[in-house]
């Protein structure tokens, strides 16, 4: 790898948990408004950030709202006023935000949201799974999943750049696994403040658009010098076209995420695959497993071990779940005999949400790999290496026999 523009000795090494990694990233991003509700369930992100506010280390207005619904609403108001806005939540809190998630995306407001992935009630649980993130799948947000706390830091900064890109203008959710990342200490490297400021191009820039009753281009914000109306009633004669704008914007996201990943690599020496997918040992693999989030670390370890024993196995970590990188993933999976799709969540009455995407990914191939969905880790249930190895052995057996007995399997659950 070429030497990064910011040499490693200039990147401060600190020991933080995933929540703190996000808080430190937000601190460096010239965020104007952080509106957050700490509970349901609590994350340390907001605690740590309010310390930065209390110590005068940031110019940010911290709005300690009375609910997650209001947290996202205040972020919508702030972003519409032209501010860079951030909030964080998890599980039930994210579910309470649901209505306003759609509004944030549809008003094209590049808010950044850290989702500390945790299981939804009932029963109340608080531990890691991806049910919360899968629930916001269709809301119009970009969804990125990180593997470790370093990536949580890196991705939080990248998220502002991606969302605010003139071709995008969409909100971004940075997903980090509850407890496995949020509460686990890890060494991460931080950039100097001014480098982050420069990477983001300073404060948020507001895009301009032509408004007929102004007869000119105006900035899309609540501005007394060029009044515009945000969020009008939009019926069957225009709503569909506005949805098409969102659909088109989503199409432009993968290129931007990849470009930002490259820029980050030049700057820091760290990159995450092509930005949307992170493959490992896939080239000649007969069996490939796809996975999101921190479990990919365990899967990689098992792949390494099995490779050393001569098994042709590999994995792909899905870093970007929305928009879903169909084309990129098809290229990586097309040579495999069997693909195992790990989902830390399920759509009741159907399969895991990423399994459905991967079915769609592979359908157009003339010769398709066999597919098995492994639902695992619900409510924070551990997925240790021996369990992952068992899954690989099953998949290798399927590769040999060509027979899938059960399309939907459950890993690590009592019979």
């Amino acid at each position: 790898m070429a030497t990064p523009r910011i040499p490693l000795e200039k990147q401060v090494l600190i020991a933080v948990n995933g929540d703190e990694a996000v808080a430190y990233a937000v601190k460096q991003c010239l965020v104007d408004v952080v509106a957050a509700y700490p509970i349901t369930p609590q994350t340390v992100i907001v605690e740590r950030f309010s310390e930065f506010v209390a110590d005068g280390e940031v110019h940010t207005e911290f709005v300690p709202v009375e609910s997650e619904h209001s947290a996202m609403s205040a972020c919508v108001g702030a972003a519409a006023a032209g501010a860079r806005a951030f909030t964080a939540t998890a599980a039930n809190g994210l579910a309470l935000m649901w209505e306003i998630l759609y509004i944030a995306a549809s008003l094209r407001l590049p808010i950044v949201l850290a989702v500390v992935n945790r299981a939804l009630s009932a029963p109340i649980n608080i531990h890691c799974d991806h049910g919360d993130a899968y629930g916001m799948r269709d809301s119009g947000w970009i969804q990125l999943f990180v593997e470790n706390s370093q990536e949580a830091y890196d991705t939080t900064i990248q998220a502002f750049k991606i969302g605010e890109h003139p071709d995008v203008q969409l909100p971004v959710a940075v997903n980090l696994d509850g407890f496995f990342l949020s509460h686990t200490l890890e060494n991460i490297r931080m950039l100097p403040d001014d480098v982050v400021h420069e990477f983001l191009g300073g404060y948020r820039k507001i895009p301009k658009t032509y408004v007929d009753y102004h007869g000119r281009e105006v900035e899309l914000k609540l501005d007394p010098s060029s009044p515009i109306s945000f969020g009008p009633l939009d019926l069957y004669d225009y709503y569909f076209e506005h949805k098409m704008h969102q659909i088109e914007a989503m199409k432009r996201v993968p290129d931007v995420v990849k470009k930002v990943n490259e820029e980050w690599s030049e700057l820091t020496g760290r990159s995450y695959g092509d930005g949307v997918l992170v493959p490992y040992a896939t080239e000649d693999a007969d069996v490939i497993v796809t996975v999101l989030g921190s479990t990919s670390g365990t899967v990689r370890t098992v792949v390494k071990k099995l490779r050393s024993r001569g098994y042709k196995v590999g994995m792909v970590r899905i870093r970007m779940f929305r928009p879903f990188p169909f084309n990129e993933l098809r290229e990586l999976l097309k040579g495999a005999k069997v693909v195992g799709v790990m989902d830390r969540g399920i759509s009741f009455g159907s399969y895991g949400p990423s399994f459905m995407e991967i079915n769609t990914t592979l359908y157009d191939l003339r010769e398709r790999p066999l597919l098995v969905n492994y639902v695992y880790g619900l409510g924070g249930r551990d997925a240790p290496p021996d369990l992952i190895e068992k899954m690989f052995m099953e998949l290798l057996e399927i590769a040999k026999t060509g027979e899938v007995k059960e399309k939907l399997r459950f890993l690590g659950v009592r019979e």
Binding site: S73, V76, I103, S226, F230, P232, L233, L235
Partner: protein, 339 residues
Amino acid sequence: MSKSPYELVVFKPGEKRELPLTFNLRKLAERKPIILPGHRLCAGCAAPLVVKLLGLAMRGPLVIANATGCLEVATTIFPYTSWAIPWIHSAFENAAATASGIEAAYKAMKKTGRLPYDHIDVVALAGDGGTFDIGLQALSGMAERGHDVMYILYDNEAYMNTGIQRSGGTPPFAWTTTSPAGRVIPGKTQEKKPIAEIMVAHRIPYVATGTPGHWIDLIKKFRKGLEVDGPSFIHVLSPCNRGWRHGLNITIDICRRAVDTCYFPLWEWVRGKGYYLTDRSLAIARKPELKKPIEKFLEVQGRFKHLLKPENKHLIKQFQEYVDAVWDDLVSRAVNAPR
């Protein structure tokens, strides 16, 4: 597309123009309205009058966060808008939270030298459903956090936008589509939530009530609400001829009847000073014989038609007792009421 013949209310970056408070009709008529013609609110609706009076009270740059409701849907049917000032609608229950975010954003921009004005007033505008019921939590949060936002409730006493369903703001015995006056149950069986008193209990700097029928009083209160540092809450009665079942031409008359009968007293509460009766309500406190019986308010509205039947006289008596109790309590607390 040609430029609209209607003018926007524009404050150029750096402009330090403060609009004077005036009640001179000629001067007021010269003011650019903040809500422009062409909106689709019903004939006789009080909501645009409330907005117009806000425009006459405004002192400088002003931004509105509007809750879902009649006012929102009827003024912004895409690709049109009636708003001559910056305006946002997000959802039904979150006008106060949206306004909180806007206010926080301007503060952060001001701190970093990116706000080209001394100050931008932020106003949240919501109906009774968005305030008494689904929006109460966000409103309470905004008040407790002390955001410098003026929250205007235009209270038409039911969910009018969706077809006259009862709300926490609907008065007792009123007919609505979800509290019909039936053979057994005579309309709404509960009282009206004392929303302005709830806001007084938050100890925010300023709370007031008003009607567009008492326009000088209302403009004064809007201006005070904008001028205080911190949250203010203005509860405005907003007659709805569709829901109240009254003639299109008596909107203002009904406002006066509401105040003359003491159904909707005019008052303000200033933190550290207490309650003050204003306008016609002060006159009534000074001269109680001016107070009219509640029938004068009820008799012109179809939603109370069933109350006027001879067999329901006892309900009118109950209504009168309810109004009297609230009024007497208010007078006993008002600093400027005669003792």
